[in-house]
């Protein structure tokens, strides 16, 4: 860190925001993955164990966490699609809006999941 150049002003643009969202959601998903395998592992321990676990997931707090998870997944997916579009398709001006579309898509997926909870 330089004494005369703060790092944040040069980072205040959409591309950097997209990078942060992609990175944070990626790390979040990586942290969740062992839990996911743990849950699948309970199935090996018999139906009762899995049933118990599945009942635990009915807890509203867990439901909320699941919504967060879907958001993370959607954000990471959208970020990945954005990168693929940017880097593999070559640059077109419409891709400027790719960041916005990615954000909208992730939000929509999260909200959809929330709505489904009530059904």
């Amino acid at each position: 860190m330089s004494p005369f150049n703060p790092v944040w002003p040069v980072r205040s643009h959409r591309g950097y925001l997209a990078f942060v969202v992609h990175r944070v959601s990626g790390v979040g998903l990586a942290v969740f993955l062992p839990l996911h395998f743990l849950a699948l592992g309970t199935a090996i321990g018999g139906e009762a164990a899995l049933e118990g676990f599945l009942r635990w997931t009915d807890h509203p707090l867990v439901k909320l966490a699941e919504t967060g998870l879907v958001l993370l997944l959607a954000a990471h997916l959208a970020g990945g699609l954005r990168l693929l579009a940017l880097e593999l398709l070559g640059w077109r001006d419409w891709q400027k809006s790719a960041v916005a579309v990615a954000a909208g898509f992730s939000l929509a997926a999260g909200l959809l999941f929330l709505l489904n909870l009530g059904l």
Partner: protein
Amino acid sequence: MPDERTLEVKVWRGGESGRFQAFAVPRRASQTVLDVVTWIQRHLDATLSYRYACRVGMCGSCAMTVNGKPRWTCRTHVDKVADGDTLTVAPLANLPVVKDLATDMAPFFDKWAKAEGRFVPADERPADFHTVPPGTRASRAANAGIECIGCGICYAACDIVRWNRDYLGPAALNRAWTLVNDVRDAGNDVRLAAVAGDAGCHACHSQEGCRTHCPKQINPTASIAGLKRATMVAAFKGRL
């Protein structure tokens, strides 16, 4: 029309370590940041070091950090960037400081050489002028990046340069991409190998700091993406 207001300008003094020194500069209409720095040097402190040449946005020598962002100071109006009546001027980031506002550009241009940014003529003694067919995909790609003035602003705005000092950086890679698309050039095998390494195009995270700050509206992110594709194709064909 003279403006009665004064601008409070904080200017970096010293080398890598140093301090900001405050100056009061009269505010004028259509004043550029370079005007302000020059006024300080002519009227307040002749020992202030900085660099410029053309004053019209062609030479690329006047880039500095203005209120935290890298900018070409000769074409940056104070009105656009001043924070009220204050301005902070510092040397470009990611480069060694020589003194005050002047940075050592050698590492920046050394990387142009490392990226094989020099033209390698396919035909040493052409009988006639070479025709570059206009409107082709290659000539459009070369055109899009060719107006680079080598100011180093993208280099100062890039986080990957900040994190990996060996990273070739947006300007050198953009230069390499213009040559990859130059039909008169024959240096592509060597060039693609040079930009395919750890510190080359694949290190770029497509954060677009370069494209956001480039004063010439060049899009190095797109050029680097082009290099990513070209190196991938070359690798598949066994040419890397």
